[in-house]
């Protein structure tokens, strides 16, 4: 019997998860709505009508981070409650493929949330034009989302099989995500400067790429220990 091809396994896992989400809409609508509501909270909390530079990038990324936390717990719930882990563990598929699949699912979730959240942000709070800043933003989004997805896929697996899964997920993820926040916020702040975007410091993309790379490897290596019993 031939061992299954890893890309095929990852594809099947991602498709199954996305299909589940499309059938139940358990996570994505909540995450998007949460993001928009959080912008409103920031408006009232900070008492500002328009934000730019540091404030803008901070509000945007903290909101996206908090929305991501909602998703991190959800991606493993179906597996934990319906025996999905067992079904996967019983198959000859390589264990890390599940980690890769969950990371890709989180990336997809973040992309969807951002499609909703960025226009909302532009409409509700942002001072400079989002459109002009978008090309630079996309790079920050890509690396930032990757960091969130990697940490999320690891911590989600850690938290889901504990008693306090809804609390531990966010609690453990947040400190680990602060460097990602520092990186993307630092990267985006000059892009959202008003009236004119400033040059981006060259180190942030490198910092984020390194962080994603290092924790990607660590998570990949440790994931197996979370699945077995």
């Amino acid at each position: 019997m031939n061992p299954p091809h890893s890309t095929e396994v990852v594809r099947a896992l991602v498709v199954a998860q996305l299909r589940l989400e499309l059938r139940t809409f358990e996570s994505l609508p909540a995450m998007c709505l949460f993001a928009v509501t959080t912008f409103v909270l920031f408006h009232f909390g900070l008492n500002v009508d328009r934000v730019s530079s540091d404030l803008a990038s901070g509000v945007l990324w903290v909101t996206l981070l908090l929305a991501a936390l909602l998703g991190i717990n959800r991606i493993y719930v179906a597996d934990a409650e319906q025996g999905g882990f067992d079904a996967f563990l019983l198959s000859p598929a390589q264990r890390p493929t599940l980690f890769v699949a969950k990371t890709m699912v989180l990336l997809a979730y973040m992309a969807v949330v951002e499609v909703v959240a960025l226009p909302a942000f532009a409409i509700l709070l942002l001072e400079p034009s989002l459109w002009n800043a978008l090309p630079g933003l996309l790079g920050a989004l890509a690396l930032g989302n990757l960091g969130v997805a990697i940490i999320g896929a690891l911590v989600g697996a850690l938290a889901v099989r504990t008693q306090a899964r809804d609390l531990l997920g966010p609690l453990v993820s947040l400190p680990l995500l602060v460097p990602v926040l520092i990186g993307v916020a630092g990267w985006t702040a000059p892009l959202l400067h008003y009236p004119q975007a400033l040059a981006v410091a060259g180190r942030w993309p490198l910092v984020l790429a390194l962080y994603d790379g290092i924790f990607g490897l660590i998570a990949f290596a440790l994931f197996d220990f979370l699945l077995e019993d």
């Binding site: 019997m1 299954p4 025996g83 067992d86 079904a87 996967f88 198959s91």
Partner: protein
């Protein structure tokens, strides 16, 4: 058949029955052991879930596991399924020592547990397609399997709309999809009506010809459905006998 099992039942492979009692179909020496357990131990913290379980099971035979609740029956199945690693002793499945050899063996076994291990929001076909991808096999067998359990018409409905009996049939399809050589069945017919049982029996019962380990609460069906019976009480083997020898004295060791 029972005579050959007799030597297996004692768990001492060096004891051979005399030539006149050898099984007429295959000499015992040529039989490959599907399972070989020696002093298997599995702990849960400071408690022992399984202790000192020793047995050998040849290919094509059925082992029934009896015992009261909490005796460790499901734990034993999960160890054999490579879901739990042994804490002591040795476990070999088809000659592969666990847990190191787990990857080799996974494609050859199938576990039917209390939960179906299927996503409720997906249909039977979608679940089976995912399973096929996980096992690296094509989707060709899916239709035939669904037909054999009479699920082909409802194969596209989400599982949560199906009755428990139908979900169990879908679970059986999941187990059989990759054509495993070893079936691990945890009370397969519990809460099923006789009609459902009749449908599933040719696939996962004795006629399937596969090596089976069946956990059961029903001594009567264990007696007629299996070759070897292991009685577990609080994780320890109470007896290991040929199915024909299962009687009340043996059962009293388990259930008091």
């Amino acid at each position: 058949m029972l005579a050959a099992c007799g030597h297996l039942a004692t768990g001492r492979p060096d004891e051979r029955p005399d030539g006149a009692r050898h099984h007429p179909i295959a000499p015992a020496a040529l039989r490959v052991n599907a399972l070989s357990l020696r002093a298997l131990t599995r702990r849960y913290g400071e408690r022992t879930a399984l202790a000192d379980v020793t047995l050998e099971l040849a290919e094509g035979l059925t082992l029934a596991v009896l015992g009261p609740n909490g005796a460790g029956k499901s734990t034993l199945l999960r160890v054999l399924a490579t879901l739990l690693r042994p804490h002591g002793g040795e476990v070999e499945v088809f000659g592969n020592r666990l847990p190191a050899g787990g990857a080799e063996v996974r494609g050859r076994l199938g576990l039917l547990a209390h939960e179906p291990m299927l996503y409720r929001e997906l249909s039977a076909r979608e679940n089976l397609r995912l399973q096929a991808a996980l096992h690296g096999i094509g989707a060709e067998r899916i239709e035939a399997l669904l037909a054999s359990v009479s699920l082909e018409r409802r194969g596209d409905e989400p599982l949560r709309t199906l009755s428990r009996g139908l979900i169990q049939r879908a679970a059986v399809c999941r187990v059989l999809l990759h054509d495993p050589d070893l079936l691990l069945l945890d009370e397969p017919y519990a809460n099923l009506d006789p009609a459902a049982r009749r449908v599933l029996e040719p696939l996962i019962g004795r006629e399937s010809g596969k090596t089976r380990v069946v956990v059961s609460h029903d001594p009567a069906s264990a007696k007629e459905d299996s070759d070897l019976v292991l009685g577990l009480a609080r994780g320890r083997p109470a007896f290991l006998i040929a199915a024909g020898e299962l009687d009340d004295t043996a059962l009293s060791q388990l259930y008091g």
